[in-house]
Structure formats: structure tokens, C-alpha cells
Amino acid sequence: MADNFLEAYGKETSRDVGTRTMNYFRELFSLEMPLGRMMKMMPGMIKFATASKDTREDLFKFMPQMMPMMKQAFTGKKEE
């Protein structure tokens, strides 16, 4: 086991760590909605829809707003 943080990181510099951290936060705080992210949200939405009758109704009300976003996610283009 390493004795200090320099040994633990070996040849990696703080610059490498910084790049990795930046990429992590960029993805975490991204407000974009690519396909992968949308697919990840699906199970949660299904769970919500099946919770009760009124949650399902509320979610269905949201569907018209949802469609252009889905389209954009699939095609990767922003709709004019």
C-alpha cells in the first residue's frame, strides 16, 4: 500500500485528475438530453406512471411536451 498520495497516484499528474474530474462534472451537470440519458430516465417514469391513477394522468398530460424532446434525442438535431 502506498504511503502518501504521490505514491498512490504514481505517474498520474493533477492535470490527468483534473481532466477526469471535469469530464465527470460536465456529464453530471449537463442540461442536454441525449438519447442515453433519456433512456436512463424511462424506468423511473414507468414506475411513476404505474404508482397510481392520478400520477399516470399527470404524466400523460406531459406527453405532448415530451414528444419534441424524444424526437430531438433520436435524431440528435434541435427542432426549429
Binding site: L31, M45, L59
Partner: protein
């Protein structure tokens, strides 16, 4: 000295959204019942909702999730008050700071607000950012004249020390109603109720919970709380007043732990400002729920005997 310009901005509404706190509900129910009843006596009708959950700040500050998970939870809780067109009154410094801070971020960052609102829309809600969040201690200070008129059980000869709590004064450097280093509004409230204020050295020290340190860094947490309790012990107050249920839980429970671990003898009753006001306004003793308190139970009974049950 309280910032009077801030105090006068607090409205005196007919109704207010009563935001319940996790610790207050499940560990010290007296805070919840006293807050509710005292507001009623002071002419503000509390309104609650069983859809209200934990404020949502915990998950971010405990690092169980990113702040992106807290924002929608905060927005959701605030939207409950917005639906009723009411301001929010919280019992806990944590709720106050999280609802305020995250609300502030969303109000000042349109993109974040839009993405949060997308999630809100899925649930048939919308976050507008119109509900102001007030701490119940702020409300009490705003209503101090009404309190003075309604004192039924004066705290004559009761020595009271104060603990304000970091998440209100520290985090609210620019938003709290008092100065972060030399606050006095709780002292004023105590004097209105007829109590005697006892100063002690470590007044502005943190209670030591350290948010999560009590769970994953217990040694640090206990050491700091002990330092605080030593100072309280020296001043020997009958009651230690807090305005945050989390500080309440720490200062109350750690006394017992230290007594057990080190054979110390800390016996200072800790009560929330809502309970103190409830005590002064003459609420029946079961409503104060002192049975849920752990340290200084005997002393609490003595105080009750002295000022009348």
C-alpha cells in the same frame, strides 16, 4: 442587533405553509405541536400538506447524490406552498438554508430552473419561485408584540441560554434577520417571556453535529460538542434554547452519551424556541412533549413546577 429592515419585510400573514421537519416530527414531536399551536395563538393559521417530504438538502450535503437531485426535491416542496399562494414557515435551520439556497440558485439560473420545471411538469407541478421561506424564530420575532400580549406562563427566574445554530446565522450571512456573530433576537424573545438570559463563552460555537460528522466522524463531533457543553455547564442555565431540531438532537443526546462514556454529568435540558414560546403562551404540558427529551429531565420538571404546569 437584529436587522430591523429585514424584520419589517416579514409579512404578518393570515395563513402560512407549515413546513414540518424530519427530526422534529420523529424525535421531538413537541417542536411540531408547539410550533403549530403557538402560531395559531398568535393569529397565524398554519396550513400543512401530507405531500411535503424532507426538504431535500440532506442528500446533497451527505453526498448520497449530486445537487441535481436536491434541486427538484426543494422545488417540489416549495411548489406545495406556491399552489396555496402562501409563504413557508420552517422549524429547522437546515430546511431554511436548503430551501433558501437552492431556491436562490434556481431563481437565478434560468437553465437549471427550466430543467427542474421539466421534471415538475411530469408530475403536474410547477416551480415559480414566489414563496418566501421564513424560519419560525423569525416569525416569532416579527410577532413579538403579540407574544408579549399573550404570555400566560411567565418564565420568572428561569435562567435561559441560547444557541442559534450555524445553518441559520452562518449560511444566512446576508439573509438572516440578525448579525452572524452577535445575534440578540432570541435573547429579546426570552426577556419578553420574562426569563433571564445567561451568557456563556461558546455561544456562537457549532453544536458539533457537523451535519454528518456525528455519523462518520464521531470522535471529532463528540469532542467539539463536549467543548460546547462544558461552557454551557459553567453558565449553568435552566434551559438551553435552540432553533434547530438537529442541534437539539445533538446537544440533547450527546449529553447522555458523554455521561455514559466518560462518567461526566451533563444535565442541561435543551428545548426548541417553539417549545419555549409554547411554554410561555401557556400550552398544556403534554403538548410540549418534554417526555421525548433525554437530558436534564428532572430539571425540566423542576422548571415546570416553578412556573406552573
Amino acid at each position: 442587533m437584529p436587522r430591523l429592515d429585514k424584520v419589517t419585510q416579514i409579512p404578518k400573514p393570515e395563513q402560512i405553509f407549515f413546513f414540518k421537519s424530519c427530526v422534529a416530527s420523529n424525535k421531538y414531536p413537541g417542536i411540531e405541536s408547539c410550533g403549530w399551536e403557538s402560531l395559531k395563538i398568535l393569529g397565524v393559521e398554519p396550513v400543512d400538506s401530507d405531500e411535503q417530504t424532507c426538504c431535500g438538502g440532506f442528500v446533497t450535503f451527505a453526498n448520497v447524490a449530486a445537487p441535481t437531485a436536491s434541486m427538484p426535491a426543494v422545488a417540489r416542496n416549495l411548489s406545495l406552498a406556491e399552489e396555496k399562494n402562501l409563504d413557508t414557515c420552517v422549524l429547522c435551520n437546515g430546511c431554511w438554508t436548503f430551501l433558501n439556497e437552492f431556491g436562490h440558485f434556481m431563481n437565478h439560473n434560468e437553465e437549471v430552473k427550466a430543467s427542474v420545471n421539466m421534471m415538475m411538469n411530469m408530475m403536474g407541478r410547477e416551480y415559480k419561485g414566489t414563496s418566501n421561506v421564513y424560519h419560525i424564530a423569525e416569525m416569532f420575532y416579527r410577532l413579538k408584540d403579540d407574544i408579549a400580549k399573550n404570555v400566560k406562563r411567565p418564565l420568572k427566574g428561569v435562567k435561559v441560554a441560547t444557541h442559534y445554530g450555524c445553518h441559520y446565522l452562518g449560511g444566512g450571512k446576508y439573509t438572516a434577520i440578525d448579525d452572524a456573530q452577535m445575534p440578540t433576537y432570541m435573547e429579546e424573545l426570552i426577556e419578553i417571556l420574562g426569563g433571564t438570559v445567561v451568557p456563556y463563552t461558546a455561544n456562537r460555537e457549532c453544536c458539533g453535529t457537523g451535519f454528518t460528522q456525528i455519523i462518520n466522524g464521531k470522535d471529532l463531533s463528540l469532542e467539539h460538542t463536549q467543548h460546547k457543553l462544558d461552557s454551557v455547564q459553567e453558565a449553568d442555565p435552566d434551559l438551553l434554547i435552540v432553533q434547530c431540531p438537529y442541534c437539539h438532537s445533538q446537544l440533547d443526546r450527546v449529553q447522555q452519551q458523554l455521561n455514559y462514556r466518560q462518567g461526566a454529568n451533563y444535565q442541561t435540558p435543551v428545548i426548541h424556541i417553539a417549545q419555549l414560546i409554547g411554554l410561555g403562551l401557556g400550552l398544556p404540558v403534554p403538548k410540549l412533549a418534554f417526555a421525548a427529551h433525554i437530558s436534564g429531565r428532572q430539571r425540566l420538571e423542576e422548571v415546570l413546577d416553578r412556573i406552573g404546569r
